[in-house]
Symmetry: C2
Subunit: 140 residues, 2 copies
Amino acid sequence: MNIISTKNNEDKINTITEMCKLFKVSARTLRFYEAKELLFPIRKGQHRLFTKSDRGRMKLIMQGKRFGFSLEEIRQLLNLYNFGDHRTRQIKQTYQLGLKRLSSMEQQKKELGLAIKDLKTQLQLCKDLLLKRGADSRDL
Amino acid sequence: MNIISTKNNEDKINTITEMCKLFKVSARTLRFYEAKELLFPIRKGQHRLFTKSDRGRMKLIMQGKRFGFSLEEIRQLLNLYNFGDHRTRQIKQTYQLGLKRLSSMEQQKKELGLAIKDLKTQLQLCKDLLLKRGADSRDL
DNA sequence: AACTCTTTTGACGTTTACGTCAAGTATGAC
DNA sequence: GTCATACTTGACGTAAACGTCAAAAGAGTT
């Protein structure tokens, strides 16, 4: 144990190719996100270096995309996780946005539950038909 | 009560503008979906008429889009709800696709639950900070 | 010094999912 | 008959989210 416990994991910085592997995206994508101000890698010379903050943001970006939010919507929310260094008024706005997004996500979860139920029913009907038509139940 | 109980709701056919209002989409969108073979309105002269089947399909299309599936993915699955008139082999394929989609949706629901939890935590932190900075709790 | 490897910027291409005209047809109201 | 209205096809445009390719620059290797 070192006194200056630079927890290697937290402080680690990544090159662009490391980030690509970490999040399974292309370098083009990472540069694109930087251009759109979703990421802020530091520069060493003219190379990008991605910090813990960027990793955190990328996690949220991927999550947001998965749930159907646009990059612009995601960008506005990323501040929720960096609010220390902003003016109070802006934090308030981001907070409100976060509330909206929360309710939208909860709504989506509900609908997803219903859709899953429907799909299950439909799959059962389909299965029945296939069996009646003489399909081998081991195939299904 | 009529003997030939044509349950008006089920058998109703809609013009394109009625469909637009029903699903809050543009006529262009409906024609586009037809071109992509997601809808199959019947033709009277050169006008389109949408039946119960099309309404059912539209419901599923909107649902699919909401959960981030592409139109092409949706198209392949729509057969699940029309399987009566297909060959057994194709039904099997659609069935398999349905199973995959089901698991993908269940996975998404799980992740959504986690993301919601995260977001709640983050919102709480944000709220705390705002209160500490002297915000009026009635604003939040 | 020459070479390789990584990364950079910049420009242009691509796909998806529509929007936006333009021009034509058909139907019912007046 | 003609006027408005609803609908059609077809062509072109657009925004988002990247992919692809070319040219150059820097750091390390032999």
